[in-house]
Symmetry: C2
Subunit: 168 residues, 2 copies
């Protein structure tokens, strides 16, 4: 396969994966494009390569900055803004984990904790079933949360070394 074709295929695959995981396709594609670009790119270049509008490009780039996945760069003597992606895949994974934990996991944990304190009659099957499911989900979510917390602080080699060693 040609490099040019391979790049397109990667952008497409990354976009598809993103859209399956609640990240808008265009955002994932822009990220993919920047991930495989040795140089920072301008909005124009991104619009052109992915055939998207200026407005879309601008919003998407802003979101990616918000996720901590790319940064603006300026070149001496130029007005244009350039965008450059962090290429460290472990940083990317941590960044995504951090944001999704904050935006999605934590709000749910908060609700689950509230629901955990609902009182009722242990003889009532409705209450018993509710209570047990909430408690179990809460425990699992707590473990996920702790593991992500560790991941956020860890070096990649240490993290996978530790996790995979256990599973031999």
């Amino acid at each position: 396969m040609e490099l040019a074709a391979a790049k397109l295929k990667f952008i497409e695959a990354w976009g598809k994966l993103g859209s399956e995981w609640g990240i808008n396709r265009t955002m994932a594609q822009v990220h993919a494009l920047l991930l495989i670009s040795p140089e920072a790119l301008t909005t124009e270049e991104i619009m052109e390569t992915l055939s998207i509008s200026r407005g879309n490009a601008n919003m998407t780039l802003r979101d990616l900055i918000g996720w901590g996945l790319i940064e603006k760069q300026h070149k001496a003597g130029e007005r244009k803004e350039y965008f450059f992606a962090d290429k460290d895949v472990w940083n990317i994974a941590r960044q995504v984990a951090k944001e999704r934990k904050k935006r999605e996991l934590e709000p749910v944990l908060k609700v689950l904790n509230e629901l955990s304190s609902v009182q009722g009659d242990d003889k009532d099957p409705e209450y018993k079933t509710f209570k047990k499911s909430i408690t179990d989900i809460n425990k699992l979510a707590g473990n996920v949360d702790k593991t992500l917390e560790t991941m956020l602080k860890a070096e990649e080699s240490w993290f996978w070394g530790s996790v995979l060693k256990v599973f031999k």
Copy 2:
């Protein structure tokens, strides 16, 4: 908080979490409803409780069965079908991990492997950057895959015991 209100809140929260993670809101809500129901429910009861149409309920229930999260039950002497959710949260997590691994992770791993074999000139920064990103993502995805694989086979207590022990 009243049990009835708490149930609604749980259904809503579970639906929101689902929709943020690429699972249709109604499907997550039906799952939530069955998770906190001690008894199996009929299509009618589900339609009624969640205010959804028969067609939607039917399709959603079929999908949930496809995900291995609920099962049909029949009561002696009745024509109606009842639906019952597996209440074991670790089973649920494994089942979801299994399906998403198969449907989403594996196809991407396949593409990444193809892309890994693209040849090029190591002096070409375009090629070098592409190669490095693909290789790194491939390694990370491989580790995730291995960990999920272990999770699928493991008992909950063993799995979290092992993972969390490392992180003390």
